[in-house]
Every structure is written in structure tokens, then in C-alpha cells.
């Protein structure tokens, strides 16, 4: 693991053997790396260097800082106010708002668009993100016209988690690659709940029972703060379930 994903510091030289090579695909650099012409790659952030050989990509996995919007990220935003044809949505506190057009919902027309009050939560995808510009959101897939699970979130509770954990939760194989299993384990214990993970460090949890939401929230927060491994997460879940009953 350590040799596979070495820790890099800003300005470190990257071992050339780690850089993936692919016959046809060009090399893609993810966040935290910078190409210095002619042929040098420098990390600009501290974190684990991860190489994806299949996609021919290289990026730095780090935990911290503020969320910076990038296109096609799934985020949980809070409506701050409504304008003539769009909602202003806050992704992270104290930053400029993102905009969510009134018509960017599934099957929305002028008359049937969802009415969101100030302070309501939405699960949305970032459709446009440029530097020096407010990001734009959408709650509908432009190609299919379906919501694909996006839209207003009613009830439940949002918990703030670190950006790293949010990324790990969103991974396709979050248990094997991301090393987070709390949600799975809690589900296996018979708790019924639904979640939505926002890339901007927010998790929305909803359930019939308030107690379940509280337990899920505490499990996530503790996993995050104490950086628990899968084994420790198992213990934590058992402890919380015991307390709950």
C-alpha cells in the first residue's frame, strides 16, 4: 500500500516508475498535480499519489481544504434565495452562491417547477464550473431528461464530513478502495435509512426513526474524525448499535 500510493509533498519529485503509461490514451493529471514543461510533473498538494493505470490518470488524494466545484460533481446545496428564474444555492458556507435554474428539474415547466423555500436542501450535479465564475447546478440529466436521483431533499439531516471521506464514500467500490464500510455495516445491522453524499463534504441521511439518523451521523463523524479503518469501523458500529438498543 505504502509503495503503491506513496505520500508526496508539494514540489517532490515523482518516481517515473509510478507514472502510468498507456499506448493510446494520453496521460491525464488530476487534482494536486501540475505539469511543468517540458516533461516534469510536480505535486502541488500533500497527499497520497494515486495512479489509475486503466484510465492512464495520476492524481493526489488529499483530505482537507475547501471544496472547489468541478463539473459533474454531485453536491448537496442549500437554497439561500430565489430570483426570477433561478435559485441561489450555497455549497459551502461563506463562499459565493451557485445558481440552479428553476427549469433544471425533472419535467419542470414554468408552472410545475418545484417551489423551494429558503433553507431547503437540494441534491444536484455541477453542470458548469469555471474559475472566477459562480458555478451552475442542475437536478436533471440533460441527455435523458430524468432526475437520476437528484432533486430536493426533504426531511432527514445533513452532516458535515471531510472532503476526503465524501470522495471515498462516492467511490464505486467504497469498501475495498475507499476503506469505508460504516454505511454497509449499519445497513447489515438492520437499520433502514437512505443517504445522499455530496462531494462538498455533506451527507444527507434520512430514516423513519430519528434515532437511526443520529446513529448513522455519529458513525460517519467518528469514522471521519478518528480516521478509522474497516476493522475499527466494525467495532464502532457494534458499539453504537449496542448503545441504541
Amino acid at each position: 500500500m505504502a509503495t503503491e500510493n506513496p505520500l508526496v509533498l508539494p514540489g517532490d519529485e515523482i518516481d517515473p516508475s509510478l507514472i502510468p503509461t498507456h499506448k493510446t490514451k494520453p496521460l491525464r493529471l488530476g487534482p494536486g498535480l501540475r505539469h511543468v514543461p517540458p516533461n516534469q510533473i510536480l505535486p502541488t498538494l500533500a497527499g497520497h499519489l494515486i495512479a489509475d493505470h486503466r484510465k492512464n490518470a495520476l492524481y493526489v488524494e488529499y483530505n482537507g481544504g475547501r471544496y472547489i466545484p468541478s463539473p459533474s460533481d454531485l453536491v448537496i446545496g442549500q437554497v439561500t434565495r430565489s430570483a426570477a428564474d433561478l435559485y441561489y444555492v450555497n455549497l459551502t458556507p461563506y463562499t459565493p452562491n451557485a445558481s440552479l435554474p428553476h427549469l433544471a428539474f425533472e419535467g419542470a415547466t414554468k408552472k410545475t417547477r418545484p417551489q423551494l423555500a429558503n433553507g431547503a436542501l437540494v441534491y444536484a450535479r455541477i453542470s458548469l464550473a469555471n474559475r472566477h465564475m459562480d458555478p451552475e447546478l442542475e437536478c436533471v440529466s440533460t441527455s435523458t431528461g430524468k432526475s437520476e436521483g437528484l432533486g430536493p431533499l426533504t426531511g432527514g439531516m445533513v452532516f458535515d464530513i471531510s472532503l476526503g471521506l465524501a470522495r471515498r464514500l462516492l467511490m464505486a467500490r467504497s469498501r475495498d478502495v475507499g476503506k469505508v464500510a460504516v454505511l454497509e455495516l449499519l445497513g447489515a445491522e438492520g437499520l433502514a435509512f437512505e443517504t445522499a453524499v455530496g462531494r462538498n463534504g455533506k451527507v444527507w441521511v434520512n430514516s423513519e426513526s430519528v434515532k437511526t439518523v443520529v446513529v448513522v451521523g455519529r458513525a460517519l463523524k467518528e469514522t471521519d474524525e478518528k480516521e478509522l479503518g474497516v476493522e475499527q469501523q466494525k467495532k464502532l458500529v457494534q458499539k453504537l448499535i449496542k448503545e441504541m438498543r
Binding site: Y94, A120, G156, M157, V158, V210, K211, V214, G217, E243
Partner: protein, 293 residues
């Protein structure tokens, strides 16, 4: 100035719904504090208090100045608070917010006006020279219940502080360096502690101790009670908010008294530990023996 982040509707509703079922988000009971930790600095008079994720640092300093003309026999004792953007981007330097004003007033009333320190003992030469003791409160991280943490930090810093020893001989005032003479503690009379209750519900029927920031955002009122271990109230501040039954307030005071006693015991223990740490080789005893001669 960026506006204070507000919780979403979902959060507001959920926190209240959970409280109605006697649940708090972090699994505490209503009258339980988060983990309180106090560390002293290497210097005298520095106290770093963490209460959950709230962190407050208090630093005491003293200098010789001229006393106020209307109070020639008293020393000067000031408490300054600073809520910097480090604690929350909604705070700005040099433009005190309501939170900051209320916090500094509360500390002033709790520690200064209640006569926790004997200011007359700070006088060196009547009308001419006196000590000016100053406590700077820095909020490093804000996750609710600033007042209790800040008050605890101020009291801890002042009780830990040692001011240079002085002597008067033939009208000449000498201030000794720590190497010459062991610094002396302040003349301390009693230790008040702030206990803040937050009220929730339409009629303020639910009362919580040590609310986190997200709980503070949905509260309908709060009441800060300052007490010392002798059961003396130094200050009560319920500044508006939803009216609460008088009987409930009396109950809150009783619980606050037991909490103040716990704080007092904890502080005494920490001070004793710190004194022991500094006195590792019995060096202090040696030095003080020298001074006695």
C-alpha cells in the same frame, strides 16, 4: 462581511425533532458537557481550554502603570476578547459583533465585577504606581458555548499567573526578575464559572447544557448563570428570548451549581498537577528558600 452561515430547514427541523425524543446529535444527555480539557503553557498565565471542538486561549500579562485618577488605591484589571476570522469567517477584526460584545460584557460581570480578584492588592504606590493585569481571550475555534469555555480559560489563566515580586524601600520601587525572586500569584478571592443553558421548543420547555454551534443556531433563548463553588451567584444573564417558566430557571440554577463545583474541582486538580510538574526537581523549594533569607 460574509454573513453567518445559517442551518438549512432540514437541520433546524431535525435538531428539534431529535430533542423532542430526548436525543442530541452527539449522543450526550441534556445536562452533560462535552469533554473539557485544560492545558497550561510553559509561561505562567497561559491557559488553553478545549470544550469539544470549541477552543479558547487566554493569556495574562501584567505591567506597572499609573492608576486611574478616580481610583488611586486600586490596580487596573482588564479582560479583552477577540473573535477573529480564525474562529469563523463571519467575525471581523475591529468591528465587534453582537456575540463579541455580549461575551466581553459577560466575562466582565462574571470575573471583574464579582470581585474575583482583589484589585487593591495590585496597588504599589497609592495614586502613582500600580499593576495593570490584562487578560487577552482569543477564540481559536468556535463550535458553540463560547462563554463557558472563555470564562473557564480566563479564570484558569488568572489563577495560574504569577506576577513579578516587588519591594518598596525608601520610596524606591524595585521589580524583581524571576531569576532574582520567585514571582508571586495574584491575590485571588473566589473562582466564578459560567454555565449556559439553552432553551428549545415553542415555550422554551427543553433546556440543554453546553450546546454545540448547530444547536445554538436553533435555540429560542439562553441563560448564562455564573456561580462559584460557595453557591454564590455572580451574575445571571437571560437577555430576552422566549419566556421560560420561573420555576425551570430555579432548577437550572441548582444544576448549574453542581456543574460549577465540578469545574472548580477540575481546575484545582489541574493547577496542582501543573505546580508539581514545574517543581519537578524541588527547584522551586530551593529558590523560595533563598528568597526567604
Amino acid at each position: 462581511m460574509p454573513r453567518e452561515a445559517e442551518p438549512s430547514l432540514n437541520e433546524r427541523q431535525f435538531v428539534l425533532k431529535a430533542l423532542e425524543e430526548n436525543l442530541r446529535l452527539d449522543g450526550r444527555t441534556f445536562d452533560k458537557y462535552r469533554a473539557l480539557a485544560l492545558t497550561f503553557g510553559d509561561e505562567y498565565g497561559v491557559a488553553d481550554v478545549t470544550l469539544g471542538r470549541t477552543r479558547v486561549l487566554a493569556k495574562t500579562s501584567a505591567e506597572v502603570t499609573v492608576p486611574y485618577a478616580d481610583r488611586p488605591l486600586d490596580g487596573i484589571f482588564t479582560i479583552t476578547t477577540e473573535l477573529s476570522p480564525m474562529a469563523s469567517p463571519a467575525f471581523e477584526i475591529n468591528r465587534p459583533t453582537e456575540t463579541e460584545i455580549l461575551l466581553s460584557r459577560l466575562l466582565e460581570k462574571t470575573v471583574r465585577r464579582s470581585g474575583a480578584m482583589d484589585t487593591e492588592s495590585l496597588c504599589l504606590v497609592a495614586g502613582q504606581k500600580c499593576w495593570s493585569v490584562r487578560v487577552d481571550v482569543h477564540v481559536l475555534s468556535h463550535d458553540g458555548n463560547l462563554t463557558d469555555a472563555a470564562c473557564f480559560a480566563v479564570v484558569a489563566a488568572l489563577r495560574h499567573f504569577r506576577k513579578p515580586d516587588t519591594s518598596m524601600e525608601g520610596g524606591v520601587l524595585t521589580v524583581y526578575t524571576p531569576a532574582e525572586r520567585e514571582p508571586v500569584p495574584l491575590s485571588w478571592l473566589h473562582s466564578p464559572f459560567c454555565i449556559t443553558w439553552c432553551f428549545f421548543g415553542d415555550e422554551g420547555q427543553m433546556a440543554l447544557l453546553d450546546a454545540t454551534w448547530s444547536e445554538e443556531q436553533v435555540r429560542v433563548g439562553s441563560c448564562t448563570i455564573s456561580l462559584n463553588r460557595h453557591g454564590e451567584i455572580c451574575q445571571i444573564a437571560k437577555l430576552g428570548g422566549t419566556p421560560v417558566e420561573a420555576v425551570a430557571l430555579l432548577q437550572c440554577t441548582n444544576v448549574a451549581l453542581t456543574k460549577a463545583k465540578e469545574f472548580s474541582t477540575y481546575l484545582d486538580k489541574k493547577l496542582a498537577e501543573d505546580a508539581k510538574r514545574r517543581d519537578k526537581d524541588g527547584l522551586m523549594a530551593e529558590l523560595s528558600a533563598e528568597n526567604d533569607r
